[in-house]
Symmetry: C2
Subunit: 637 residues, 2 copies
C-alpha cells in the first residue's frame, strides 16, 4: 500500500490568526446558537421517542444528522480546550440518543415512532444510513475529544446491526445509501476501533453502488412504487447510475457526490488493489475542478436537484453552490491531498475554505447561507422564481438545516487540515498563526506567526529538545508566483526545493530555527475558461487565496454597468472598518453614464463612461453589512 | 371626441412582397394544419356536446378560443380571396358552435358538459369570458369576410346573455374576466352591429376591473375557497390590483395585460371623457416600451406566470416573450397609433411584427414557438429547469395552443395594419409591396413596390380617376436617419414635412403620380439601457426593422466567447440560400482562443483572440435550419 500522508489531528493544532478567530466565534457563538435551534425545532425532544400519531411536528427522517453534526463539532471543540457547559449539553444529548437506540441496535427516530413499518424500505430517499454515518462521525469525534465512549459504543452496536442487514450474504439487502455519508463514518469508526468489518462495510457500500440489477429499482418494486417516479428522477442523482469505478464526470446532487468521493478516497487509501477506483477518483477530480467548480470552490450549478449539470455550466446568479457541497469538497480535497501529497489538492481545499465555505456563515457566527451565488442582481433581490432558495441575507436556520452544523464541525476541526506527517516529513498545508505540537513522535513543535491571508509573510519556528533531521514540506500555493524562503535569515532558492507544490527543506533542525516564507500576493485578475458562458468578458479579482466581489453598499447599484479597464491598477488596502477588518481592493473603474441618455430603452450609442472608484471585498465577507447587489465576475473593457 | 385615424380594413389591402409571402404561407400551410390539429385534439368534436363523465379527453375551459381564432383567421383569409374548401370547413365548424349554444345563449363546452354546476363561478380562472371574446372576434371577422352572419347572430345572443349576467344592476354579477379579451370582442361586435350595449359592456368590464370590494375575492369566498390560493397569487397577475385608470406600470401575465390595454384603448377611442384612462394607457405604454420590452418586441420576462417582472429586467436566455404577448403588443400599438397618429406607436408595432411575432412561426408555416428567447445557451439546449417551456425547435402544436392560431389570425389580417385614413389623409404605416384600393370614399388607390425590409427604396404610385387633393402621410421609421423622398422624381425635403414620425405630402394628386421613399438601412448597433443587467457590454444588430442574431449553424458553438469589436464594419449581403433568402449581416469578429490554454478552468490570462467571420441572420429566421446556440446581444470589445 502506498505511503500516504497522515493528517495531524486537530487537537494537536492550536489555531490563531485568521482561522483561530473563526474557530473562537464558532465555539462562542455558533455552537450555542445551534444547540438552541436543535432544541427549539424539536430535534432534541424527538430523541425521547414520545411522538405519537396526531402530534404536531413529526420527527423528520434526517433530524439526527443535525444533532450528530453538532455533537461532532462539540467533540472537536472539547478536543481543543475544555468547556464544561458545552460538554454537559452534549452528554445529555448523547444520553437521549443512547436511549433512542432500539434493542437490535437500530437508531432512527422517524422510523421508530412515525413510520416503524417502513424501516429500510427506502434507503434511496429515507436517509437512515446518512444519519447513521453522521452519528458515527460524531461518536468518534466525541470519543477523541473527551475520551467518553458512550456514543461510540452506541454507534458500534448500530454499525454491527447495519453490517448484518446490508451486504452480499444470504438474506442481506444488497443496498447502499441514497445519500452517501456513512462511508466516511464507517472509515472513522474503523480507525477509532480497529474493527476491520467497518472498513469492509464502507468498501461494500462504495463498490456495490450502481451494480445491476439496481437495488433502488428492486427496492421501489418491493414498495409497490412501479412508477419509480421521484425527485431525483434518475440514478445519477445519487451517483448510482454506474459503479463509481466507471464514473468519469461528477453527476447529480453535489453534496452526495462530494461525500461519496471523499468516502471512496478513504476506502481507497485503506484498502489494496484499488487502481480502478483511483482512476475514477482522479478523473472525477479533474472533471470537478477543471469543468464544474466555481472560482469560489462552490460546486453544484443547479437549484433543481442541488446538482452538477454539465461541463462549464457555471451560472453566477443562479448558482446553487451549497455550503455543504463546498464543505464536502474540502473533505475530498483533504483526503486526496493525503493520498497524493500534491499541492494541487491543497489549492482546491484552500480555495473552498476561504471562499465558498466561509461565505456560508456570517462574520458574527450567527447566521448562515445555504446557497452561495456569485452574483446578486435585481432579480435575486426581487426573489426570482428561478432561484427559490437563494437569499440575499444569511438566515438563522433552515427547515433542511444541513449547512449550519456542517460549518460548525468543519470550523471546530480546522486544525486537522493544516498539517500532515509521513515518516520523517512534516507537511504544512495551511498558513495561519498558531502551532502544532507533538510532531514526529512528540519530538517537534512548529509555530507559525503570520497575518495570512492578509500578509504575505509567514514566520515558522521549529522547537525540538534535540536536533532532529526531518523534511519540512511547505506548501507553495498554486496562485503564488515568486515565493521566497529563508532559513535562519538565509535565503534558500524555492525552485530547487519545489516538488508537487511543496518546498521541501530537508535538514537537521535545531531548537529555535526560523523559516521565513514569503508568498507575494498582488491582487490578480482571474479569467474563466472561454466555454463558461456567463463569464465571457469578465474577470474575477483574487488576492492570495481570497476571491473578491463588488457589493452595492460600496459601489452603488447596477453593478453590471460597471467595467474594470484591462489596465486599471488594483490596490489592496487594509480597511479596519469593513466587516471588522479586511484587505479591500480598489481600482478606478468606469460606469455607463445615464445622463443625456433620455428614456429610450434601446439606443444607437451605448452612452458615455463616468469614472468611478471601485471597492471590492473578500467574497466570504459579503452580505455582512447591507443587503444589495453583489458581483464576483466583473465586466472588463 | 378626437378625430382618430381609421385603419383601412385588411380586405381592401392586397399584400405582396415580404408580408404577402408570409400571408400566402399562412393560408396555404398554417390554416389547414391548424384545422387538422383542432380536429385531432378533439377540439371540434367537443362542440358536439357528447362528452360524458368517464370519457377521456374532457373538453378544456379554453378550447373554444383556439377554434375561434382559427375561424377568425379564415374569415380574414376569405376576405382577401375566396377558398371554398376552407370556407366549407369553417361553415361546418360554425354549425357545430351554433348547436352548442344553450337555450339561454350560453356557450362554453366545458361548462356545459363537464362542470355545468360551475358556470360563472370562477371567472377569474375559468376563461368563459375569454372564450366568448374570441368567438365574438371570429364572428365579426367571418361576417365581414363572407357576409355570413350565423356566428354573428350566435354571438350577439351570447353577448346579450352576458350583458344580463354581468353589470352593476340588481341581481347582476359585478365581475369581469380573469383573462381579458372580451373587451376587444365586444367593441368589434359593437362596430359590426351598431349595438351600443356591447360597447357599454366593454366599458363596464374595463372600468369595473380592480374595484373594491374585489370581485375575485367575493367570488372565491362564494366558492368556499377561503385560502384564495391560486396560480396567479395576487390580483396584479390579471391586472385587477387597482382600477386600470390608476395603473402606471405593466404588471402580471403579459398576454392578459396586452389584451386589456388594447381593449381599453378601443373603449377609450369609442367613448368620451376618458382622460384618466388615457393617462393610464400612456403611462403603461411608456413603462412597457421604455422599461419592459425586449428589443424584439417581446414582452413578459418571467416563465413563472408568463409575466412582467420589474423595470429593466430583460434576461435573454430565460426570456418568456410569449408569441401571443407580442401579438397583443401589436394589437395595442395599432390602436394607440389610430388614437394618437404618432409614428412612435407604429415603430413598436413594426418591431414586434418583424421580430418577436414572426419568430413564433417557422418559415414553412408549419411549426410554432410559444416562448421566444433572445439567447440559446448550452443550458437551454440541455433543457434547463429554469425555463421549462423554452424549446430550441419550433413545435407542431401545444397543449395550451393559444399561439399558433393567434399567429394565423394576425397574418391573415395583416393588411389591416398597413394603412389608415382620416378626413382627406391617407396614412401609410407599413411598407410592403401590394396595394390598397377604395381610399377616400373609393376615389384613390395606392400601390407600393418595394423589397422592404431588404431594400431601402419604396416606390408608391397613386391611382385616381380624377385629380384629388389629399395628404399622403408616409411613416418615417424611428430607426431611420436620412430618409429621402421624391415626388415624380423631384426630391422633396423630408425634414420640412415631418410631423410625429410621418412625412406629410399634401397636394393635389394625379393618376400615376409617383412617390419614391428611401429609408437608408445600414446595419446598426443597438445598445440597451445600462440598467438592463444582461446586456452590459453587448450590442444587438439591427438593419431596418429587423433585429439580427448569431446562430451556431453559422458561427460555431460557444457564441459567448465571440466578441464584435466596436469598430468592426458590418456588411449586409443578400443570401439566397439562407432560409429561402434573407439579408445576412457579416463582420470580422474575434473568438477566445482555446489553444495553449491548458485544462485550467481559471487562469491569470484570458487567452488570446482568434479572428472569426461572423454571420448574423434575422431573428425571425432563427431555428429554421439546425438547432443550436443563438444570441441576439453580442459581446463587444
Amino acid at each position: 500500500m502506498p505511503n500516504h500522508l497522515k493528517a495531524v489531528p486537530h487537537h494537536k493544532v492550536e489555531l490563531g490568526g485568521f482561522w483561530g478567530e473563526r474557530q473562537q466565534i464558532n465555539r462562542r457563538e455558533t455552537l450555542p446558537i445551534q444547540y438552541r435551534q436543535l432544541a427549539e425545532t424539536g430535534r432534541l425532544d424527538a430523541l425521547n421517542l414520545t411522538w405519537k400519531l396526531g402530534d404536531p411536528n413529526p420527527p423528520h427522517i434526517f433530524w439526527e444528522s443535525d444533532v450528530a453534526k453538532w455533537i461532532e463539532a462539540v467533540g472537536y471543540a472539547l478536543g481543543n480546550s475544555p468547556d464544561p457547559k458545552l460538554e454537559a449539553l452534549a452528554d445529555e444529548t448523547i444520553e437521549r440518543i443512547a436511549k433512542a437506540q432500539q434493542p437490535d441496535g437500530y437508531l432512527n427516530v422517524h422510523f421508530t415512532v412515525v413510520e416503524p413499518e417502513k424501516r429500510w424500505t427506502n434507503v434511496r430517499d429515507a436517509h437512515e444510513l446518512y444519519c447513521a454515518g453522521h452519528l458515527m462521525e460524531a461518536a468518534v469525534a466525541y470519543y477523541e475529544g473527551t475520551g467518553k465512549d458512550k456514543l461510540l459504543r452506541v454507534m458500534q452496536r448500530y454499525a454491527d446491526y447495519i453490517d448484518e442487514v446490508f451486504g452480499r450474504g444470504p438474506g442481506q439487502k444488497r443496498g447502499y445509501p441514497g445519500h452517501e455519508e456513512i462511508e466516511l463514518g464507517l472509515v472513522k469508526l474503523y480507525r477509532a476501533t480497529g474493527e476491520e468489518r467497518y472498513l469492509d462495510l464502507a468498501r461494500y457500500f462504495v463498490e456495490e453502488r450502481g451494480a445491476e440489477p439496481h437495488y433502488f429499482d428492486i427496492e421501489a418494486h418491493e414498495r409497490g412504487d412501479e412508477q419509480n417516479a421521484w425527485y431525483g428522477r434518475n440514478h445519477a442523482y445519487n451517483q448510482s447510475h454506474v459503479p463509481l469505478a466507471e464514473q468519469r464526470a461528477a453527476e447529480g446532487h453535489a453534496v452526495r457526490a462530494m461525500y461519496l468521493y471523499a468516502g471512496a478516497t478513504d476506502v481507497a487509501m485503506e484498502t489494496a488493489d484499488q487502481e480502478a477506483l483511483w482512476t475514477a477518483l482522479e478523473a472525477l477530480w479533474h472533471n470537478v475542478t477543471e469543468r464544474r467548480m466555481y472560482v469560489t470552490g462552490g460546486v453544484g450549478s443547479a437549484h433543481h436537484g442541488e446538482r452538477f449539470t454539465f461541463d462549464y455550466h457555471l451560472p453566477n446568479e443562479t448558482a446553487y453552490a451549497e455550503t455543504c457541497a463546498s464543505i464536502g469538497l474540502v473533505f475530498w480535497a483533504q483526503r486526496m491531498l493525503q493520498a497524493h501529497a500534491d499541492g494541487a489538492y491543497a489549492d482546491v481545499m484552500e480555495r473552498a475554505l476561504y471562499n465558498g465555505v466561509l461565505s456560508g456563515v456570517s462574520l458574527d457566527g450567527q447566521q448562515f447561507f445555504y446557497v452561495n451565488p456569485l452574483e446578486v442582481t435585481p432579480a435575486t433581490i426581487h426573489g426570482s422564481q428561478t432561484m427559490p432558495s437563494t437569499k440575499v441575507e444569511r438566515q438563522d436556520w433552515f427547515g433542511c438545516a444541513c449547512c449550519p452544523p456542517n460549518l460548525a464541525r468543519l470550523m471546530a476541526s480546522l486544525g486537522g487540515y493544516a498539517y500532515s506527517e509521513r515518516d520523517d516529513e512534516v507537511w504544512v498545508h495551511l498558513y495561519t498563526s498558531g502551532s502544532v505540537a507533538g510532531l514526529l513522535g512528540g519530538r517537534v513543535t512548529i509555530r507559525q506567526d503570520t497575518r495570512y491571508p492578509w500578509d504575505e509573510e509567514i514566520a515558522l519556528q521549529v522547537s525540538c529538545d534535540e536536533a532532529t533531521r526531518f523534511t519540512l514540506a511547505l506548501r507553495i500555493p498554486g496562485w503564488c508566483r515568486g515565493a521566497r524562503l529563508a532559513v535562519n535569515g538565509k535565503p534558500v532558492p524555492v525552485a530547487d526545493l519545489l516538488e508537487a507544490g511543496y518546498a521541501k527543506l530537508s535538514r537537521t533542525w535545531h531548537d529555535g530555527d526560523q523559516v521565513t516564507l514569503t508568498l507575494p500576493m498582488p491582487v490578480e485578475r482571474v479569467y474563466a475558461h472561454p466555454a463558461v458562458w456567463e463569464n465571457a468578458g469578465r474577470a474575477a479579482l483574487q488576492r492570495g487565496p481570497l476571491v473578491y466581489c463588488l457589493e452595492e453598499v460600496d459601489n452603488g447599484d447596477t453593478l453590471a454597468s460597471i467595467v474594470l479597464p484591462r489596465d486599471a491598477a488594483l490596490e489592496a488596502r487594509w480597511s479596519p472598518d469593513v466587516t471588522g477588518g479586511v484587505m479591500t481592493v480598489h481600482a478606478q473603474g468606469l460606469r455607463r453614464a445615464l445622463a443625456g441618455r433620455g428614456r429610450a430603452l434601446y439606443a444607437r450609442q451605448p452612452g458615455g463612461w463616468v469614472p468611478c472608484s471601485l471597492t471590492a471585498v473578500p467574497y466570504y465577507a459579503w452580505a455582512n453589512r447591507e443587503p444589495g447587489e453583489m458581483m464576483v465576475w466583473i465586466h472588463e473593457c
